[in-house]
């Protein structure tokens, strides 16, 4: 009964919404906002990896570019912060056009390396362009202006920032459900056939890349406003890696798994930081190694499989062999099942 209820879309969406609304009551509000911002970045990476079969290891470029652009707009124009965030997301999308145009020519592991390299280029540019970005000091004192409302309390700011996150998550869900998303999946599974059917493969990949960058930018903008600053860390490769880690932990190609992964990693990092443990890479790296070795379906994927198995067992108690078959069929995440390109 409960299981069947959980599988209903409106019920699941309702639970997710309630969880999002209740979050700042349960945990420290700035951390709740961090989770939401990172969730957008992780979902953006999963949109590309899980549905486009493209592992971007350079999404820090879009997250960071948006964080800086948002910060600059808010600092220098005094416009309300939603305008700044939208401006940041647009800047990220604009940057994604040339980077995506060059990167989608490659796939598989090459795509990961090239996006990583381009993101590092953005990092160097941000680092060198001191007059605008503040170099190693970053952008400090980014205001949180919204029509004179007092949002200095992170608890209230959470609810001001949340609509952006929900909008972004809804957009991601719409994208993967749309005909465009279906074509993207078909390209992921068999690029040659999709091309033979007349789909301009590279153009679809580029559009997915730009949309994904815009989502990452939305997250980066919310993050910059929430923290009141943008720093070099936002454009560094560890940020890209952390986003990928969230996706793998949640489960590739599950979209909501990425949100779960973001929640776990952000909470863990916060816990380690409060405990005074600075070398978080030891812990997160070890978790990452373990997931890749033993737990490739991730939290969401495993949970879904368990749910499916439970339902199958209920429906046909006699045929227990059935659910094993399901597991085998999804053993290799469809996203990266094919030794694509290479």
């Amino acid at each position: 009964m409960i299981i069947r209820l959980l599988a209903r879309r409106p019920v699941a969406a309702g639970i997710g919404l309630i969880a999002a609304l209740a979050l700042p009551w349960l945990i420290y509000p700035p951390v709740a906002m961090d989770i939401m911002a990172w969730a957008l970045l992780a979902v953006a990476v999963d949109l590309l990896l899980g549905y486009g079969g493209l592992l971007s290891f350079g999404h820090a470029a879009f997250w960071g570019t948006s964080a800086y652009t948002t910060g600059l707009i808010a600092l220098h124009t005094g416009l309300p912060f939603p305008v700044a965030i939208v401006g940041g997301a647009l800047a990220a999308a604009a940057l994604a056009v040339p980077i995506g145009y060059l990167s989608v020519r490659l796939s598989g592991i090459y795509f990961a390396m090239v996006t990583l390299a381009f993101a590092q280029m953005i990092y160097f540019i941000v680092n060198q362009w001191r007059d605008v970005t503040g170099g190693e000091n970053g952008l400090q004192g980014v205001p949180r202006e919204l029509l004179g409302a007092d949002l200095s309390d992170p608890f209230y700011f959470y609810y001001a920032g949340l609509p952006f996150v929900l909008l972004g998550l809804w957009a991601a869900w719409r994208i993967v459900r749309s005909p465009f998303g279906q074509v993207l999946v078909s390209i992921r599974d068999n690029p040659s056939r999709a091309r033979a059917l007349g789909y301009p493969v590279d153009r679809y990949r580029l559009l997915a890349f730009v949309l994904s960058a815009a989502l990452a930018g939305l997250g980066g903008g919310v993050f910059a406003i929430s923290h009141g600053f943008a720093s070099l860390h936002d454009v560094y490769w560890t940020t890209s890696g952390q986003a990928v880690m969230m996706v793998i932990l949640g489960g590739i190609g599950t979209l909501w798994g990425a949100v779960l992964g973001a929640a776990v990693i952000v909470t863990l990092n916060d816990y380690l930081a409060t405990a005074g443990f600075e070398e978080t890479g030891i812990v997160t790296g070890a978790i990452f190694v373990l997931i890749v070795l033993l737990f490739r379906k991730g939290l969401w994927g495993t949970g879904r499989d368990l749910l499916t198995a439970a339902r199958a067992r209920r429906a046909r108690p006699a045929e227990s062999g059935e659910d094993r078959k399901v597991e085998v069929a999804t053993e290799r995440p469809a996203a990266v099942a094919e030794r694509s390109g290479g």
Binding site: L102, M113, A117, G285, A286, V289, L293, R339, G342
Partner: protein
Amino acid sequence: MIEQAFNGLVGGAFYALLALGLAVIFGMLGVVNFAHGAFYMLGAFGAFILLDSFGIGFWAALVIVPVLLGLVGMALERLLIRRLSGLDPLYGFLLTFGLALILQDLVRRQYGVQSQQYARPELLGGTLNLGLFDYPAYQVFVLALSAVVCGAVWLLLTRTKIGMIVRASTEKPELTRALGIDVSRWVTPVFGFGIALAGLAGVLAAPMRAINPLMGGDLIIVVFAVVVIGGLGSVFGSVAAGFLIGLVSALGNLYVPALSQTLVFILMAAVLLWRPAGLFGRQEGLT
């Protein structure tokens, strides 16, 4: 100008050694080793620790550290990376990314982020007269040694039986197996060898670069760009691109200093536009 070109070649020597190891590992295992930079960093720290704690000098470190790291690499291949064989190569990339984070932060926990110093070996402390200008002898040594190592690996791959087996396993693993050669036997040593090359580069870097836990992470990303420029499948291309990129960035630095760090990525973009498989890569098989 010529001196700057020399600086570029020395920088390129490090790219070449790292790119060579990456290319050999990728060829044999199909894994792009993100932890390569971390092993380079461990190489430099290895030399530092040997001198600092055991009083073992540069020349011994030049042998001991690569051998030890090569063994560590072989163990890692056996224990972890082997478990991913047959899966999408992206998983290998992700696994080694996790390893890189662990190694980097383990060293950071022990030594902090401030840089350590390592004195040049006495024998190479002075400068060498190269006709037109004086040049630090140590840098000349680095350039010469890495050129010799790259050349030796090239000969090993093209002129010996071992090299023949490795190349055959790289290009057509099934066929090689069918001819009665145990391909899997060569996977672990080749991985260890690639790691040893990274360790060697690290030891060479110790006397001339700042030794800190983050030295490998940034470098390896530049090496990725170098490898994309050269063509990832191509061992020769990776090495050639390594020296070439070193040279071009140094000369670029001379004329347009603002571009010194970004030039390699701009070159990568140009190569992607013009020859997506890299300068020396085979253009087939790209989607």
